[in-house]
Symmetry: C2
Subunit: 549 residues, 2 copies
């Protein structure tokens, strides 16, 4: 997911989080709006699933108690355990609505210092308790849900207590930041210095720096610095085998990059506690424009030309006709390309003009420009974009599946991939539900050698079958991506849900190396078991066998 540059702070800095659905509790759609939304989808249920109260949940009993030395930072309160059971995938929301909280962690730990992180890991390693590092829980791939069934207990380690900006180097435009800080709080702390990280995933309000790093999140920039990886100067990671702190330098060629082993490790090798991050001067010049295309193939050609031009727009989002209509950016079957450029210290209009000219060369028709700050369609799209996860939850309550998945592939195979995915997903939904699905596509990030398409599938399901249908769609998507040589994820991470595709695309020698690294860094096998690698029987514990898994 990705977000077009929010320019001001968000309204409520401390919204009460929804334990079952996306974001802030009071932003969820009321029943009446759920019903109205469901009425737009043929085959949807007629009334919304009720939202259970915490008191109505039947949580499994906690199997482990906090040790006395760590009692002050651990809780087995039902609201804590329920809120940390799942991420925010469609299937997570649906299971919560159906009161299925079987995977609930036994305890939630909230360390407020690196020392406390170490203490929890030491205790858990000895006690055969799995630890699931948890930023703000926006995973859509089962990344924070324990499923291994092999440990004596499970602790969800909520890192939002580590939320400080520790140091700012204005000269080098960098800051040392604790990993548990949420997006808006981070930007609030950088703003007085004229600085910004400019990492704005769709989850921005409800995700943390550490989560972005552990999952190689994709952000604001549609070109160049697409993943957060490129914004990292150095990482500090607590592993059961010791603290890993990399040298803080702008670039290095000294052996394989230590940071690149931990970026994308999704909590399986250690807990990221701090990072030195590269920052930007806050942009004072921005311009955006929307260009319409009659055909999606022509639009793809335009985007390819732009991606290979060296003009590096900050935004370059292509919406297919369905996506453009949903976002109210275009109608009449046209595709829409939203372009944006920005700079701290010089005008950007010239660059925008060059970009629009390139799009026009490929058959694009620029929208009439709006008023101050550029183009109205870009703003419309942004609002719709931020609202999407709440609509997804409302649809979930109406038993309508709204699943997204994303990938990346080279330009030579992109048109085939988009067509094949549309057809395969349509057929899968037809087989599973008897009804037609809406399958939309947009490009979120583009590269000189390819792009990252993002698909949305909307389909009504029989009440009670939602998760099964979602799983069918996911399996079909993973198969199409694997068959066509596209990655199982461009920026949503692997978690547990993407394991089939990940295992297929990961080179086997690298899997050996990763498993070997895991064995030395996490010898007790407690860290986020089942993510990236199969959970290992843990030698040296009562229940562990001798064979590494």
């Amino acid at each position: 997911m990705d977000l077009l540059s929010p320019s001001s702070s968000f309204a409520d800095p401390h919204p009460r989080r929804s334990w079952w659905g996306w974001g802030a509790e009071d932003e969820a759609l009321p029943d009446s709006e759920c019903t109205a939304l469901g009425a737009l989808v043929p085959g949807a249920a007629e009334t919304p699933l009720p939202v259970p109260g915490i008191a109505d949940l039947d949580l499994p009993a906690s199997r482990v108690a906090a040790p006395s030395a760590l009692g002050h930072l651990m809780s087995d309160a039902p609201e804590e355990r329920a809120g940390h059971t799942y991420g925010k995938a469609y299937r997570d929301v649906v299971r919560a609505l159906y009161r299925d909280l079987r995977p609930a962690p036994d305890l939630v730990a909230r360390p407020r210092s690196e020392r406390e992180v170490t203490d929890v890991l030491d205790w858990a390693s000895d006690a055969d308790v799995a630890v699931v590092p948890y930023g703000a829980g926006s995973s859509v791939v089962g990344g924070v849900e324990y499923r291994a069934g092999l440990h004596r207990g499970v602790v969800s380690m909520d890192l939002t207590g580590l939320d400080r900006v520790l140091e700012i180097d204005r000269v080098s435009r960098a800051a040392r930041i604790q990993a548990g800080v949420l997006g808006p709080a981070l930007e609030d702390r950088l703003r007085p210095h004229g600085l910004t990280l400019r990492h704005f995933p769709q989850s921005f309000e409800f995700s943390t720096l550490g989560g972005w790093l552990a999952t190689r999140a994709g952000g604001h920039y549609a070109t160049l610095h697409t993943h957060i990886d490129d914004l990292v100067e150095s990482l500090r990671v607590v592993t059961p085998a010791g603290v890993n702190e990399s040298l803080r330098v702008p670039g290095s060629g000294a052996g394989p990059s230590p940071d690149r082993l931990f970026l994308g490790s999704e909590g399986t090798l250690g807990v990221i506690t701090e990072a030195w991050m590269r920052l930007q001067d806050r942009p004072r010049h921005k311009a955006s424009a929307t260009v319409f295309f009659e055909g999606f193939d022509a639009a793809l050609s335009a985007v390819r030309a732009i991606s290979q031009s060296g003009l590096h727009p900050a935004n370059c989002r292509l919406l297919d006709p369905g996506e453009a209509a949903l976002a109210q950016v275009a109608d009449g079957g046209r595709s829409a390309l939203v372009l944006g450029v920005e700079a701290a210290d010089r005008p950007v209009d010239g660059r925008l003009t060059e970009l629009v000219e390139l799009a026009r060369d490929h058959g694009g028709l620029p929208a009439p420009t709006g008023g101050e700050g550029g183009d109205a369609a870009a703003g419309t799209w942004r609002s719709a974009f931020l609202r999407m996860p709440y609509l997804r939850d409302a649809l979930a309550r109406m038993s309508v599946i709204s699943e997204t998945f994303e990938t990346a592939c080279t330009w030579d195979r992109l048109p085939l991939l988009v067509d094949t995915a549309r057809r395969a997903l349509g057929a899968t939904v037809r087989k599973a539900t008897g009804a037609e699905a809406m399958v939309n596509c947009r490009l979120t990030h583009v590269y000189p050698d390819g792009a990252a398409p993002y698909f949305t599938v909307i389909a009504a399901a029989r009440r009670g079958s939602e998760v099964a249908v979602w799983d069918d769609i996911k399996a079909a998507a993973i198969e199409v991506l694997g068959d066509l040589g596209a990655t199982v994820t461009h920026h949503h991470a692997v978690g547990r849900d993407h394991r089939p595709g990940y295992d297929r695309q990961r080179p086997e020698p690298f899997a050996l190396a990763l498993r070997a690294a895991k064995q030395v860094l996490d010898p007790a096998g407690i860290l986020n078991p089942g993510v990236l690698l199969d959970p290992a029987d843990r030698p040296g514990t009562a229940r562990g066998g001798s064979a590494p898994g």
Copy 2:
């Protein structure tokens, strides 16, 4: 090292390589020019060291014979063994001149297919023979010189037989390329398609794609794509545990990047045989300018402003007064900043003007522009730059040390680093030789958060003491870099010579992970032992112990 865009092919596509010194044999300076050059350095010898002939060398006897199945691709000919004994560091050249070829490999293998690479590794693993992957041998860090003394024999695996471009994807601007191709041959094969890799290290003529990848080489671009890492779509690596081929995609967030484990692995984890590389359209618009500064600190400020501007010049080389004078770009104690911009399809003059304006804002004085193609100083600098390694060899023959080292650090500590390094190196040379050294500095690559300074130390040594003095200088440099938190190498790799600094800066948990990866990918411990990691006693061999190292 780095090179300002060569625009045409090099004169002789198949020069006879010097076995003892840099590059082409007939480009070495004749005795008379060596003597003249030495006369410019107080304390230099009066006559050049003679260049030994191959027939005069006293190579140690080969300890292993090629197995019959591999005999056709292996050789123990003296010219092969001598030419593959060392890289091209100053200390390598000096030892060759002194006829010290004790580390000579027993055999040189020249596989012509991936199958043959696998066969050699299989045989070597069984036979307890170390394998040193060898591109074109331009390492300046002891990367291709076996020193472990633990194996039954040593094979240098010369990969220049794998030199084909296998596939070109014009739409995605990428090509599948065998790892043993030399720079000029690669560019010759891409030129008819209007494409270029634009990776132009100073070693361009005498280094290979595989060598660039294995060492995370720095290239042409002074900003953005500074290392070859960013130009990689996917890698194919033969390891003793199997072939590692990563998915070819423009971007991915699926787990830690497999490629980033092999980039910088310097032949310790496997042999890179192929890569899909991202290419550029050949630039048709280029412009360059030189800006002079009275003070180096002002120049640094200008470069920092440029690096943070988002203008991304292709070239942005800052030469300090000594370096500028040596390259005949500036005199009178002025620093010189060489700026270059390029694009395939649109004029770049406007961007150059913006860059020069930024430099002027910080006290820069632009040179009067030259004729067609921009600025004369840039061309002058480029010629001097390409010629440098030959001059270094000529000085070596006059017992003058000419050592370079490079690093990177953040802007906040850069001025201190440059000053400290100058002082420490001056003191080291004074102590070792009693004479003054010339210590010059340039910036080769710049980032928004820092830069990569490159130092040259020139000092006369007593004949016979050259290597010892070089080692003193190297040790002092490594200490300064470590003390100030700068990387031991920005783009020259670690090899064996940088191990003290590398071991110091590498986080210990990452060292554990790397060692574990090595043990599963290269269980017999035959691949480039001593590089990045201590050579392990190899379990399961006659001489190996049971403890993994």
